[in-house]
Each structure stands twice: as C-alpha cells, then as structure tokens.
Symmetry: C2
Subunit: 427 residues, 2 copies
C-alpha cells in the first residue's frame, strides 16, 4: 500500500482549514508514518474565497455530494456540521459511493449514527469520528481500542469547553450566569445557537456516542437526560465550594440493571478531584473499565488545531489500513438499550429558601424523612428578608425518592420557590 | 477474518494471569469487538503450579522458545521480563517463526528495540508494546495513532508509580527518603532490584520508548540522562513546597537543535499543575503536539489488571487487523539521533549551606553572576550550627552555566558540602 490516500474535504471552516494546514505542512511526516502519501484531491465549501492557504491544486466542488462521488477521492472528510441537510446528504452519498467517512459531526452521528453505521457496513466502508468527541483528546480511540479488553463500567466527563468556561469564570470572578453568558457570547465562545452549548445538547451528543462505544448499544441521544447550566447560580457555586465541591456540567453514562443511564447535567464533584480542577475551555473524560480501573484524559476540547489533529488521527488510521466497525462492533450486533433515568443512587445537594416560621426546618426534615431521604449535612444561613437559605447534603438516595421529597416540600408551606437539587457525582 | 486469534502466553506472573483472566472472563465481549474469537492455545512459565485459574485446556511448554515455535500460536505475548536471557530468546524466536509479538517488556525493548523492530519487519510481523509504558494508560496508542498528525514537540511525565509513591509519602508524612524507602520495600512496592525503580532506570526505559515513537528516532536508552530520587531530601520537598512547587521524578523527551534530549530526573513542577497533584502510585504522561497542543493522560501505571488491559489492547488491534511498524514508521527509516544533554534552558532550584561569615551571600551571588546565571528569588534561613540554608530560584539558564556556577561555589570558601540543584520544568 504505497498509493497515496486521497482526501476530499467538505467544509472549509476553521477545522477544515486546520486539516488542510496539517496535510500541507506535515506531508513528509505523514507519509513516513502512514507508509504512503496523504494528499488532498478535492474540497467543497459554500464560497470560494481566500482562506489563507493555497487551495489551487485541489478540485473545487460547489456541491458536497459531487465531492463524495469523485473517483479521485478515497476518504471523505465531513467538517461541515449540522445534523441534517447537506452534511447528512454528503455522508450518505460518500458511503453509497464506497468511500470511507471521517466525520467531526457529533450531532449527525448522535442522531443518525446507527443508520449511517449500517450503511457503511453494507458497503464495506468505515466511519471514524474521533473529532466528534472532546476535540483533540483521543478519547474514542482510547475507549474503542485502548480499553477494548475491558468491560466498561462508567464513562463520564466534562465535554463542553464553553460551559466549563462559564462555570469556572462565574466562580473566579464572582459573576452571575447572565453576566458570564453575555461575556462568552461576545467573545465568540458560544455556538450560533447558544442553547447547543449551555443546554448541554452538544455535550449530550458526545456522551451518546461514547455510551454506544462503551456499552455496545445503538447510539441513543433521545435517551440522554439533558439539563443545561442556565439554572446554576453564583450562590450555588459558592455554597458548593463551601461544602468542598465544585459544580461542573458533567456527562455520565453507565449501564445499570434497569438499562442504560445517560445524564448530562450540572453536578457537584469533590473539589480535590481532577474533574473539579479542570480550568476554562478544557475537556476531561474519565473512562472506567473492569480491568484497567480509571483512566483520565484531558486536553483541548475545541479549536482548529486540536480538532484537525483528531481528524488526522482517523485519516492516518485509514492510511495504515486500520478498519473496524463504526462503534467498535458490527452495527447489527449493537443492542437497543432501554433508557434508565434514575437507576443509580447518589448523594444530592439541595438549596432551598425557608420561611422564617417556628418549626420550618423540622417540616423540611420531616418531608425528607418521609420520602426516605436521610441528611448527611445541613446548614442554615442568616435570613435575607423573610427567608433563610438552607443547604442540605443528603446521603445516597434515588432520584425518585428525592423527587418525592421535593414534592413534599411544596406542601409544607414553609419552602419558598423551587429548591435547587444537584447530584453529587463520585469521581 | 472470523478464524480465532490464537495466543501463546510466555510468563504466568500477575500480568500473564491477568491476561488469562480477561480472555476467560470476557470471551463474548472480545469476540464481538474483534469480530473473531480470541483464544489461548499455549502457555509457558517456570513452574506448573496452581495459579487460581483453569489452565488445563492450554498446551504447556516448559521452554518459551518452544511456545514461540508452535504452529497453533498466532501471537506470542511476552510477559516474562528481563532484558536478556529467556525473554530475548523468546522474542527473537517468535519473530523468526513468523508470529506477531505483544510485549510488556520495557527493558528488552528499550535496549534491543531497534534490532527487534528490524527483525519483525524482515518477517512481515509486528511488535506491539502498550503494556511496556505507563501500565493501563493507552499512551503508546495515543502518541503513535491519536497524535499521528502532529509534529511532537515534547513528551513528559511521571512514569514510575513507586517513585511517585515515595515522594508523595515523604511529603505527606514528613518522613525521610530512607524511612519511606524501607516502608515501600516492606510493602512489596519495589522491584527485586529497587535501583530499577528509585534509580529511574525503569522509567528511563519507558521514556526512551516514547521518545522513539515521538521523534522517529532509534530507541536510545543509553542517551537518557538518569538521576534517581535517592538524593531528594525531605528538606528539599518542604522548601520546594514553600516556593510553590512539588518534586517529581519527571521524564522529559524533546528534540532540540542539538539533538534529542532525554532526561529522567527529580524536577520541580508548579504545585497547581496536574503533574504536581498526581497521587501515590499513579502515572501521568503529557503529550505535546504542534496541532493538538497539550494532552494529559493519567491512570494506573502498574498492577495485574491495568497491565493486562494494555496487553489486550494490542491483542485486540491485531485481531482487528491493525498492523504497522513497531515504532510507528519502518525501522530502517528511524533516524539515529544525537543525544543532547543540556540543550534546553530552564530555571533551577538551588539549595546550599552557607557558612556564617561576613560577605558569604555576596560571594555566592557573585559566583552566579560570573557564570551568567541570574537570580529570580532567594531566601536565607536561620543558621543551624555554623551554616545557614539558602534557597535560590534562578531565571532560565543552561545546565552548562549552572554547572559553571556550582564549580565556582566550591572556590568561594563559604559553601558547605554539595549544593542541591534541581531543574524546574514548565508544564
């Protein structure tokens, strides 16, 4: 295999141009490592304009589907984005035309991954998607190959750098969510639709992909419990710190007796844990296996260089002849997992506002007790106006019991507004 | 490829039995992921005794070379250890017999890796060695495949859990090196020849292997500057902490204008860095590439489960048909790097004992200045007997200039004994 591997790149945004840059700059290194030259033969994007690198030797296609059908393309690189429309049409066309597909498109794969994996296997082609999860961190490879001898017990992590930036910045600067959100938006740290970031959707796509690989299940984004960071207040961040925790938007996937639990939600993690200490826009993924124990991977979760690095990892694997099914085993063998939403008990952090009435605290304690939730630690603070903030850390309990307690709070007549309830995840 | 992949395991210590355990326990999972069954056909060890798992269906070979020559073995797994003798004979025999080789033997590969890689390629076979570096962490894979699109700029890390345990325990318990060494030895944390651990040799083997992969050079263990942790005192640990640092046995490999610099030595790292916070027997490797930036990998560096997990990662790759040269590019294309030992400047931490004489400090400062070393921070402490401890953090300087300063100290007549000089590594 000394023929060049010929790439067609669909999408010339920062990631696409990052890939072009690596292929141009590192031609000798890539050829030495792959045992064959890596060349770009064709590119496609919405507009032909100067992007800072010389693209004149590549064929230009206005239509990405036409790029997929070119006989001089072996591997189609999809770095357009969007879970429908052109990206989907291109991906399907590439596989149908007998091309391998390298995709950075977490949304597309989280939603249509099973169908695409089946289409790839029907054609004897492969889909690789390292760049779709946690940017430059080789987490898909570590999970799918590096831990291939392990029964995976849990996958968790911080998978959206923008959310981690917002939460870290709130804590460091003592600013409100709204203030930091506006700041991040102005700095261009957020997606065009910011809800993709702060609503946990983008990170949820990544979690669903990792869960499929980890547990041999069909990718099931609809089964991810999604809670964004919009409800996290600076008070919660401060109080959590006071109790020895930090708040992170944490994705957790775990196979339980009741089914596959996938959650992407703000959680408390112990302040001393690696996850708690993750700064700014960085990502961290923790992989747990029955043989290896715990592996922690940390790195840049976004950006042209890191994401292009991940795309090139997939390209280099294909150039070296590495081929296996999209999610690590044949698509037809992936089980359809039942979604479990409240299977794994955990301690919870509760913050509520208590009316200044005799017996108020007792009523709350009774409501918890009646729901079967026991208290590990409790703190009541000074009254502000007529209400006093109360913090409670519970012992391990189920979400069902906790929800029962929360609904009992509503009938006590002493709890003001909606209590905040955040899971404390053991790391 | 649905034929079983047939393993012959040479060595039935904790790692070998860990591999047997995974193959027996996870047969279905492994077959689903590999697309073919993974079976053990033969084993070899020094003695046939009860090891807790049923080995009766495997052929037994007293002689590992006979195991390598069996026609019913596709992949030989070498988990015997030792850089010469039976392990070397077995490895050569396996390749000569046309078998792929999975090795956990860092010493053998660090010393004979180039010759073995050439032998493998002459036969069209491959050698895989994930288990030889940093136990369960998929670091060879991350570097060789996950970062294959990167020019690697630096590889560094804590690669010997026993040394990290000793240094961490000294700091936590305020004990001397000798006390903790005795403790670790009694707990069985050290190799039969403890110098392999505390002398940095074992970690140096790992660093040499990573450097070869990172820089496309022939593995050169002889070129690793080795300093063990035996000279690290509790005073240095305390003083370093006081200045905002922790002391770690750090391996660093970097390509410089003067050649390949490989160092395994006690260094100071900023207390807030992930490396500084690494607890006990854990390993951490930092990979830096021109596209990806910095990737940090953390996990268990030793033990039956983690090491067997790494062995199985290699086995699963072979089962899936992944094949490429031992160090990531053909052995004949690996350059013979010149060893550079003092190419990269750094700040240094100095601790010295100063006689209680007028002008003593001025003489030390003058010696540093004359050698071209400038002072960033200095602290003089109370006299103990006739000498006062002085701590100096220098600005970035070369090791050559620093050594010049150290030799000038000797002629001042005010410096008692040998000063301690430790590099401060930016992470």
């Amino acid at each position: 295999m000394t023929d060049p591997l010929r790439l067609g790149i669909a999408g010339l945004g920062t990631v696409g141009m990052g890939v072009v840059g690596i292929v141009q700059r590192q031609a000798d290194l890539l050829a030495a490592r792959a045992g064959r030259p890596i060349v770009i033969t064709a590119v496609s994007a919405r507009s032909q304009r100067d992007r800072g690198l010389d693209l004149s030797s590549y064929a230009w296609e206005d239509d990405p589907v036409a790029l997929a059908n070119r006989p001089d393309v072996d591997v189609v690189i999809e770095v357009m984005g969007g879970h429908d429309g052109p990206a989907k049409a291109l991906s399907e066309a590439a596989l149908a035309a007998g091309k391998d597909l390298v995709s950075a498109n977490k949304a597309l794969l989280a939603i249509h991954g099973q169908a695409l994996a089946e289409a790839a296997e029907a054609q004897g082609r492969v889909i690789r998607f390292e760049a779709a999860v946690a940017g430059g961190i080789p987490v898909v490879k570590s999970l799918m190959e590096g831990l291939a001898g392990n029964g995976i017990t849990r996958v968790l992590g911080v998978m959206n750098g923008s959310c981690n930036y917002i939460l870290t910045r709130m804590e460091d600067a003592g600013l409100s969510y709204a203030e930091v959100f506006a700041e991040a938006d102005a700095l261009g740290y957020l997606e065009a639709d910011p809800e993709l970031d702060v609503g946990g959707i983008d990170a949820g796509h990544k979690l669903a992909l990792l869960a499929a690989v980890a547990f041999g299940t069909q990718v099931d984004f609809a089964g991810v419990v999604l809670e964004g960071i919009g409800s996290v207040t600076i008070e919660d961040i401060r109080q959590a710190a006071d109790m020895g925790y930090r708040i992170k938007l944490l994705g957790v996937a775990q196979m339980t007796g009741r089914g596959l639990e996938q959650r992407m939600q703000p959680c408390l993690v112990p302040a001393g844990s690696p996850l708690a200490q993750l700064p700014g826009g960085t990502n961290m993924v923790v992989l747990e296996g029955d043989a290896v124990g715990q592996i922690v991977l940390r790195g840049p979760g976004a950006g042209a260089g890191p994401t292009a690095s991940a795309v090139m990892a997939d390209v280099m694997d294909l150039a070296r002849g590495t081929r296996y099914p999209t999610f690590g085993q044949p698509a037809a063998s992936l089980r359809r997992a039942r979604a479990a939403t409240a299977a794994i008990p955990a301690p919870y952090y509760l913050r509520l506002q208590l009316l200044d009435k005799p017996g108020a605290l007792a009523k709350v304690a009774t409501a918890l007790g009646d729901a079967g939730v026991s208290i590990d630690r409790m703190r009541q603070y000074d009254h502000v106006d007529a209400a006093a903030p109360v913090l409670i850390v519970t012992h391990r309990t189920t979400r069902t019991a906790l929800d029962d307690a929360l609904s009992r709070f509503a009938t006590t007549g002493v709890v003001v507004g909606s209590p905040v309830a955040l899971r404390i995840e053991a790391v």
